[in-house]
């Protein structure tokens, strides 16, 4: 089994807000991230797939294919967007919201990528890691 990782970057804005809470509660829990005007990051997305090496090509998967999957499934919708206002996962209703924390962004990226990787066969999605800054990251490995 070999683990292969492709890295991609995207830039997006977001804010943290739980619509079930008061403005004060949001401010207390989320601090500056609760600023309703939003703020942005240069995110780095690391997508790791696991599989056996194909005896003919020497590949686990074709990196160009994986690059295109990441581009199509994630970057096309998220790059240079406001996640709370434009990314389907994070658009809030009046009462509930999936907050675009780094954890939730990693899970959302997994959900976007997993079907495409599974459908292609040959490898399975093993890990998605999202860096919000070089010092802050979150990871999802498909665990319940």
């Amino acid at each position: 089994m070999i683990y292969l990782t492709r890295r991609a970057t995207f830039s997006a804005s977001h804010y943290y807000r739980n619509p079930a809470w008061t403005a004060e509660q949001n401010e207390t829990i989320f601090g500056r991230c609760a600023n309703r005007n939003g703020h942005g990051h240069n995110y780095t997305l690391e997508v790791t797939v696991a599989g056996e090496v194909d005896p003919v090509t020497g590949f686990v998967v074709d990196l160009k294919w994986l690059k295109d999957v990441i581009e199509r499934e994630v970057l096309a919708d998220w790059d240079h967007r406001h996640l709370n206002l434009e990314a389907l996962e994070f658009i809030a209703s009046e009462r509930t919201a999936l907050i675009p924390t780094t954890e939730n962004i990693a899970i959302a990226a997994w959900k976007r990528l997993e079907p495409a990787v599974a459908k292609a066969g040959g490898a399975r999605l093993s890990r998605v890691r999202v860096y919000e800054t070089p010092e802050i990251f979150a990871e999802f490995r498909g665990e319940a």
Binding site: N18, A20, E103, A106, E139, R141, E143
Partner: protein, 138 residues
């Protein structure tokens, strides 16, 4: 759903690698420059990964402000701009980065009882680092 949250911190500290049970010549042979008598320093990077369920209300495994405060109180205030050899942990333990990594892992595990410390990585320089994992703790 279970997710992992990682955070990187830096601390600068000095140390000297010297085992009390070895002779001066043996220490020199084992540790080389790291055994020089007055010690030397590094800018260490400490990478902490915690694991847990993503809280439905906050979207977080852990509030970063909480994690930062615990790491500051437990690790950075203790080791940053300090000489590791003078810390009680290293009185009878050589302050290699292996031992520093394990010490930090155990300190954080005690300080964070309700959250799983999945892994601690300590980078001594850009070219070497050490990890201590929850699975395989010794």
């Amino acid at each position: 759903m279970k997710a992992y949250f990682g955070r990187r911190y830096t601390l600068s500290a000095s140390h000297r690698l010297h085992a009390g049970s070895l002779s001066a010549a043996e220490n020199q042979a084992v540790y080389g420059k790291c055994n020089n008598p007055h010690g030397h320093g590094h800018n260490y990077v400490v990478e902490v990964v915690v694991a847990g369920q993503v809280d439905a209300e906050t979207g977080m495994v852990v509030n970063m402000a909480t994690l930062d405060a615990v790491v500051r109180a437990t690790v950075l205030d203790r080791f940053d701009h300090a000489n590791l050899n003078f810390d009680p942990i290293f009185v009878n333990l050589v302050p290699t980065t292996e031992n520093l990594c394990r010490a930090i892992f155990h300190l954080l595990r005690e300080a964070l009882p309700v959250i799983e410390v999945e892994r601690v990585r300590v980078e001594e320089t850009e070219n070497n680092f050490f990890e201590c994992h929850a699975h395989g703790v010794s």
